[in-house]
């Protein structure tokens, strides 16, 4: 998912290797009391204030941003969920409301879950197996941002087409008496379980979950939410008696989340008026924060992401390999690093380094030179000459969110240096991706990025580079063409339940993307965590590969 629409999400080193680990078996001692910390014992209790741009939606099936996911994952728990521990292990799937990870049929098309007994929502009503089907129906009916991940369920497409809330999804069978939930897929899909672990698939009581946007649905999680003002403030309070093995029940008693501008929240964290901020310190303040407050500031590659320049392969000049290669040779990640305020890790892989266990293998040497070294402008000019498109007008597309205008201007300057005649076109970020993803816009080249929805290589490759993605309008495949090697690879590897078992093949696919110059990758952005002096930064920074930061792991000194 795009950053601004950002995501759930995140990194994974270990991801699927842990699928076989049972919830009870994976419990560490601290998790039942407050989640795993970096080392020392987490202090319990207290209240904190967090500055945020606030969730895009308080309805779990409709939220899309990481700010929404960070907060609501504490309120709504799925049948399976991600482990509440810091570091790479946080990408492991563990049982949530289900008593164990599902049993998967031999043909990998049927998943069987069983609810834990005697679960109750925050309002006191019992959790039913049929609530899961109701949630998937809401997700599909309301067209939530993550609904596409559920269309692999048998009957889901038909349900969507019927446009009737009470229609049936034939692939889901739920037995309220036994708590058994059986989900049949139309085809094996290795991504399915990861998608089910998202907040958008967390069961909510059918009786209180209407088929329209709602801010007041009860859930079952370590915290309950009280929305004071949807655009100003909400409060998370620990759920009394919450005790699901393996799921942290939170250290902090009350978390108040308030809306502020990034500049103000940065200053407020510096002044200890806020205890944490969901955003990265604003560009101008970042160097000061890094230098003066290093004892409460850190940077991590969470959520896993990739930044690259797309090149429309159906339009001149990027219909020719030489032109695309020229751009790759000309990009200087050292310059872009400065634009990112030092928060860019140069790379030429399409898959992020956090995917080391499931498909990332550093491409070394990179076909276009060391990504952390100087560019080869002479070679780039030669290739532009060879392409026959020297002097051609090129429009570089980008959006207005800082620092993207600067990134786009850098590319314009670079394209001019290698022989094109480039100009820029900036759009508001709210309409940017939809506009360039429409074929008739004819966007030639420009800024794009991808932030993980869930820890699986296909989450990066399929929406951005596949033939299937080109079919949708708007599409995220801004190349408007697919590489046959990629489509074949996705077909072969996509159904594997555990991408780690075919990690080398994912890595080969990654290499093919780069060698065929289906984009010009320049690196991965580091996200920051900045805390007040009150917070126990050493032991409870809560850096999590899926949620970016897991607030249930936060604690005071």
């Amino acid at each position: 998912m795009r950053k601004q629409a950002s995501a759930l999400a995140v990194a994974t080193l270990v991801a699927i290797g842990a699928i076989g680990v049972s919830a009870c078996g994976s419990d560490d001692k601290s998790s039942s009391g407050g989640g795993s910390t970096s080392g020392g014992e987490a202090k319990k209790g207290g209240s904190i204030r967090i500055g945020s741009v606030l969730p895009d939606s308080y309805d779990p099936v409709l939220l899309q941003t990481i700010q929404g996911n960070q907060a609501l994952q504490l309120v709504y728990t799925g049948l399976v969920t991600y482990k509440h521990v810091e570091g790479a292990a946080g990408a492991e799937l563990i049982p949530g409301l289900a008593e164990a990870l599902p049993t998967i049929s031999a043909d990998r098309k049927t998943y069987t879950f069983k609810l834990r007994p005697n679960l109750k929502y925050s309002v006191g009503s019992a959790v039913k197996a049929s609530d899961f089907e109701h949630t998937i129906k809401r997700l599909l009916f309301l067209g939530g941002p993550f609904s596409s991940f559920s269309t692999v369920i048998k009957g889901a497409v038909e349900y969507q087409k019927a446009e009737k809330a009470d229609a049936d999804i034939s692939g889901i069978t739920a037995d309220d008496a036994t708590g058994e939930i059986k989900v049949e897929l139309t085809a094996p899909d290795g991504k399915f379980l990861f998608a089910i672990a998202l907040v958008s698939a967390a069961p909510t009581p059918a009786a209180k979950s209407p088929f329209k946007r709602s801010n007041s649905m009860p859930g079952l999680g370590p915290y309950t939410i009280d929305i004071k003002n949807p655009t100003r403030e909400f409060v998370l309070t620990k759920t009394p008696g919450f005790d699901i093995p393996g799921i942290a029940n939170g250290n902090i008693d009350t978390i108040t989340v308030v809306k502020e501008t990034v500049t103000k929240m940065t200053q407020d964290v510096i002044d200890n008026k806020l205890d944490y901020m969901t955003e990265d310190p604003t560009g101008g303040l970042l160097p000061e924060v890094k230098a003066k407050y290093s004892n409460r500031f850190r940077m991590d590659p969470n959520p896993p992401n990739t930044y690259w320049f797309f090149m429309n392969e159906t339009l001149k000049p990027f219909d020719k390999l030489e032109a695309r290669q020229a751009v790759n040779y000309a990009i200087d990640s050292r310059a872009l690093q400065r634009i990112f305020g030092g928060r860019l890790q140069p790379s030429c892989n399409f898959l992020p380094p956090a995917y080391a266990r499931i498909g990332y293998k550093k491409i070394d040497p990179c076909p276009y030179g060391d990504p952390a070294g100087p560019p080869n402008l002479a070679k780039a000019r030669e290739l532009v000459e060879k392409s026959g498109y020297k002097g051609m007008s090129v429009t570089v597309w980008g959006n207005t969110k800082d620092p993207r205008p600067a990134i786009v201007d850098y590319l314009r300057d670079t394209l001019n240096e290698i022989g094109f005649k480039a100009k820029t076109k900036l759009l508001d970020q709210q309409v940017y991706f939809g506009t360039i993803g429409t074929k008739k816009t004819n966007a030639q080249i420009g800024f794009t990025d991808w932030y993980q929805d869930f820890p699986h290589p296909a989450d990066f490759i399929e929406p951005n580079l596949s033939a299937k993605a080109v079919e949708s309008t708007p599409t995220f495949n801004f190349q408007f063409k697919s590489n046959p090697k990629i489509d074949a690879g996705l077909k072969k590897l996509g159904g594997e339940a555990d991408p780690a078992t075919v990690a080398d093949e994912w890595a080969e696919l990654d290499r093919a993307i780069i060698e065929d110059a289906n984009g010009a990758v320049y690196g991965n952005e580091l996200a920051s965590s900045f805390f007040s002096e009150r917070m126990d930064f050493e032991n409870c920074s809560g850096v999590h590969p899926v949620y970016r930061s897991d607030w249930s792991l936060f604690c005071l000194k």
Binding site: G284, D332, I339, D413, K425, D428
Partner: protein, 347 residues
């Protein structure tokens, strides 16, 4: 053609001149000469007029400064370059993204922005853009306003009704809101009217938007004046001699609007520059990477804590240019519309 100084000067000019204490005889001087004489006596207005000329001159000299002194252009990124200051090599943009501050030397006199572009060079080029848009939009506004104002005032009836309602529709929108709406809508697809095709990135877009938005602000007073002028004896005389509507409008009425036009022009230019800056600040005016004072202020906002000069310097230039035009415009108004001055004195 008949210029109508008599009615105005017979009452206003002697009073005004006397009020200025000279008791000077002015009989026999043309109204323009009287106005210029008044303007010459207004030292404050002349000083600010000169300030505007200096600012405009500096901006016009931008290419010379960029090439001969700063050795760059308005667009060139210097992200990885180093410059030597007092024998010490310094990054134009540090690895952590901090741009160099003012060096007070030829290169990066006022520092660099996040892309390592020379602020001083962009400031001068930005001034060219802002002034060019202001000075282009204002005459277009005047032209449109005079035409529609004269048509409405002269023909009255249904012509007046249609034009007045159209002007009221434009007037009913807040200026910036309408500008942002039009600027955003036209930025993507540009403007296509028959054979006329303007690219969305073109500076003609903000010129047209600003010109159209300010039409009611001038057209309405013009219409009011024309309504009065069309009843004057010299118009009746021209009509009696067989002059047609067009001839009366352009030969009899238009010359009598000249003082209004002259008074409004600097004020419209100042407002146009200000609106351009506001639209560019909001992303609906000049499109990056083209510099204008508005876009430069916008680009500097994110770094206002660590690099306040990025915002303050273009802000100061904008204030000076608009202030200079406004004070000069006030002086012109005082010179050409003495009654306004009398009214002020009677308060």
């Amino acid at each position: 053609m008949a210029i109508e100084p008599a009615a105005e000067l017979a009452t206003a000019v002697p009073e005004a001149i006397v009020a200025e204490g000279g008791g000077t005889r002015v009989a026999g001087l043309a109204p323009w000469r009287i106005a210029l004489r008044r303007l010459r006596r207004n030292r404050t207005a002349l000083a600010f007029g000169a300030l505007f000329v200096v600012i405009a001159g500096m901006c016009l000299a931008a290419p010379i400064y960029a090439e001969q002194v700063a050795h760059t252009d308005q667009f060139k990124n210097h992200l990885l370059e180093q410059i030597t200051i007092d024998g010490v090599k310094r990054d134009v943009v540090s690895p952590s993204g901090v741009a160099i501050g003012p060096t007070y030397t030829g290169r990066f006199l006022l520092g660099a922005d996040g892309n390592g572009r020379d602020i001083a060079v962009r400031l001068l080029y930005g001034g060219r853009t802002s002034l060019m848009i202001g000075l282009s939009a204002a005459p277009l506004t005047m032209l449109l306003a005079i035409v529609v104002g004269m048509l409405a005032g002269f023909h009255r009836g249904w012509v007046d009704a249609i034009i007045s309602r159209a002007l009221e529709i434009i007037w009913s929108f807040p200026v910036v809101l309408l500008g942002v709406a039009l600027g955003t809508a036209l930025a993507l697809g540009g403007l296509k009217i028959g054979p006329l095709q303007i690219d969305g990135e073109s500076e003609l877009i903000p010129i047209l938007i600003i010109a159209v938005i300010y039409v009611p602000y001038l057209a309405r007073p013009v219409r009011g004046q024309v309504l009065a002028l069309r009843e004057k004896e010299f118009v009746e005389a021209a009509r009696a001699q067989g002059a047609g509507s067009l001839r009366i409008m352009f030969s009899e009425i238009l010359p009598n609007l000249s003082s209004t036009i002259v008074v409004f022009f600097p004020l419209i230019v100042a407002n146009a520059i200000l609106l351009e800056a506001a639209l560019s600040f909001l992303g609906a005016g000049v499109r990056p990477p083209n510099p204008s004072w508005g876009t430069m202020i916008s680009e500097g906002v994110d770094r206002i804590v660590t690099g306040p000069h990025l915002t303050i310097v273009p802000g100061i230039m904008l204030v000076l240019a608009v202030l200079a035009l406004n004070v000069f415009g006030d002086g012109v108004r005082d010179a050409f519309d003495p009654r306004a001055k009398v009214r002020v004195k009677h308060r």
